[in-house]
Amino acid sequence: MDLAYTEAEEEFRRRLREWLAGVLPGLPPKPSPDDWPARRAYDTTWQRMLYDAGYAGLHWPVDAGGQGATPTQHLIFLEETERAGAPYVGANFVGLLHAGPTIAAEGTAGQRARWLPPVLRGDEIWCQGFSEPDAGSDLAALRTRAVRDGDDYVVTGQKIWTSHAEVADWCELLVRTDPDAPKHRGISWLAMPMDAPGITVRPLRTLAGSTEFAEVFLDEVRVPVRNRVGDENDGWRVTMVTLSFERGTAFVGEVVACRRTLDALADEARRNGRWDDPVLRRRLGRLNAGFRALWRLTQANVSESEHTGVVPGVGGSVFKLRYSGLRQELYEAAAEVLGGGDAFDLDREWVLDRLSSLSYTIAAGTSQIQRNIVAERILGLPKGR
């Protein structure tokens, strides 16, 4: 065990830091959260800057156009960009972290050449069409149908929780190509161009008042068969492959951000006098312990991944279970720090974050589903309900 970074890692950090210090001041102002075209432009500009500086696809394999960096370098990258206040991955999320890795692992040479470079350069962005109104926790129950018609699939159905749908060029889409097969066996993975006729995007308003997600209605949308990645009916396995690119770094930036928020809460409490309340103070102290441990657990997961090459995917459920709960506690504490007068003012920092944090125990697998995964796949308890 050695928590010190190697000289090579420190050098990587130094170069990155220098570069960030040079380019960040020149960034345009952040766009309004509701201006989707502006958000796309901002995020893709940033991606292009990363590309030009040699940081695009840092964790992708070299033969996919990536940098083949170690998990530790990726951790350093995410940590430093977050600490420097650099833009988030934003609109490039699905392309860089889901669809791209899937194509890199399972696509043909032609598919890789067509789709990967534009993702790395920030020329094209992707969205994800996985969940459906009746297929959430039970994703494999999805019902969007794709019927073969010549060289096309004709796709009809409805997707939900799709971020960036309004401005995406492509959608990684899971469809049912064999309705008679067992539910995991009849699914295929398609790259759907978002300008195809028959696609209707309807923004979905969240309880935070924003439109981070959309519903996507598909009415006989024609998707060329050549856009299928992997074999027909093998889409479930193809999708699971994406996870093999996750090497424990999924929440690095968020944990760093939470720790910064916690420091800011302490400063604000000292300023407004609520620091004198030992109940609140000790609560913040407990949160400090919790987030410190999550940071160390992140390092441990990344380190394990680097050593063994094995994905800490299942251990990721342990992490997410703790992290999502702790993040909600953080913003409950923030409301206490703000006090009754400010905790209900949406223009105050942390108030919208408090609302957003409510999704953390639901999105990407509810805490109930995570507990099932931990109990069955790590602890080996019998399946059941």
Binding site: M1, D2, L3, A4, Y5, T6, E9, E10, R13, T72, L75, E79, V256, R259, L262, D263, A264, L265, A266, D267, R270, P278, R281, R282, L284, G285, R286, N288, A289, G290, R292, A293, W295, R296, L297, Q299, A300, V302, S303, E304, H307, G315, V318, L321, R322, Q368, Q370, R371, N372, V374, A375, E376, I378, L379, G380, L381, P382, K383, G384, R385
Partner: protein, 349 residues
């Protein structure tokens, strides 16, 4: 950055697990319970021979020359096995109290108003000053011979809740601050935090053990026609046990590497919570059998409670962790990572 155990560390850990499996199996555990935790001196010497106490003494002083990370692995195993005795105090006394390193002497410690463990059988007692403000130095002094006998005579035996830990109340005695037999300046500023870290390691071992016991029971006990572990209510209790244990493990191991007081405080807090709540949930999952003396789960719970009240306790730990936050946190942030600078840790003697 390499947050994996080295091969040597893995070997050390499995060696200790094998040793304890051989010299302190379940029969010997229950025998220790039946004699109220009274120590087995030959076992103590075996631990000494295996380097449990001398682990961090330099090799030239007859020690093993390892550091806190290795010590934490040994104490984790001790916690798993419910090994009784003032392990932390004797380990910290190695090099200070003659015979401690070899397991020839049993050394206990008294700090604050917590009851003193194994006092009647102790050959020396370390007296640690009152809880200092965060970060300040604290000395520990050791009593032996006449001073020890006077100390013991003035203390009051307590009917201990933990059947593996005989206790004395020594509050009044400790407050009178008896003359020290020996000063221990080498430990100034370090004793209390190292004791907390090693205690946290024991808690971690206990938390992991009760998780395994809960899973084992849940997988084999049948009610309503299936293993109780097939029911979500039980399954999710088990999942939460692991979700408490693993962050605590990361915190304890990292604190052992950095030796940072705030990081040790975080590790103690999380390990206490994991040990206590896991033992509680393990008991609940065992149902009626968990409420019996025969099941080992109560032994884990009682010791977890006792350890949680030892060294860095909930309130003090939380305050220390709060004081660390924000611009007013005392030490500058590392430029390399959130957290304290990595300090040289290790050698306690």
């Amino acid at each position: 950055m390499d947050f994996q155990l080295s091969d040597d560390q893995r070997a050390l850990r499995s060696g200790m697990r094998d040793l304890l499996g051989a010299v302190f199996d379940r029969d010997r555990l229950r025998a220790a319970v039946e004699r109220g935790g009274a120590l087995d001196r030959s076992l103590w010497r075996e631990l000494g021979a295996a380097g449990f106490f001398a682990l961090r003494l330099p090799e030239e002083a007859g020690g093993v020359g390892l550091g806190l990370p290795e010590a934490v692995l040994l104490f984790e195993e001790a916690g798993r096995a419910l090994l009784p005795g003032p392990l932390v105090a004797t380990h910290l006394a190695a090099g200070l109290v003659k015979g401690a390193a070899e397991g020839e002497e049993v050394v206990t410690a008294v700090a604050g108003d917590l009851a003193v463990a194994h006092l009647a059988e102790a050959d020396a007692v370390l007296v640690v000053g009152a809880e200092p403000p965060a970060g300040e130095a604290t000395g520990a002094e050791s009593l032996t011979g006449e001073a020890l006998r006077a100390f013991v005579a003035a203390a009051r035996p307590v009917r201990s809740m933990d059947p593996l830990t005989p206790l004395h109340s020594a509050r009044a005695v400790a407050e009178r601050a008896p003359a020290a037999t020996e000063r221990t300046p080498a430990h100034a500023g370090r004793f209390r935090f190292e004791a907390a870290l090693l205690t946290a390691a024991e808690q971690l071992g206990s938390a992991a053990r009760t998780t395994e016991a809960a899973v084992q029971h849940a997988g084999s006990r049948e009610q309503f026609g299936s293993p109780v572990g097939a029911f979500q209510a039980v399954k999710h209790l088990c999942a939460d046990m692991l979700a408490r244990t693993e962050p605590a493990r990361a915190a304890v191991y990292a604190a052992a590497v950095t030796g940072d007081p705030v990081e040790i405080a975080a590790a103690k807090l999380l390990a206490d919570e994991a040990a206590v709540r896991n033992a509680r949930d393990c008991l609940q999952i065992h149902g009626g059998m968990g409420f019996t003396w025969e099941a080992d789960v109560h032994l884990h719970l009682k010791r977890a409670w006792l350890r949680a009240a030892s060294w860095l306790t909930g309130a003090g730990t939380e305050e220390l962790l709060a004081a660390d936050l924000g611009a007013a946190g005392r030490l500058p942030r590392s430029s390399a990572a959130p957290g304290r600078p990595v300090r040289e840790a290790g050698g306690g003697g």
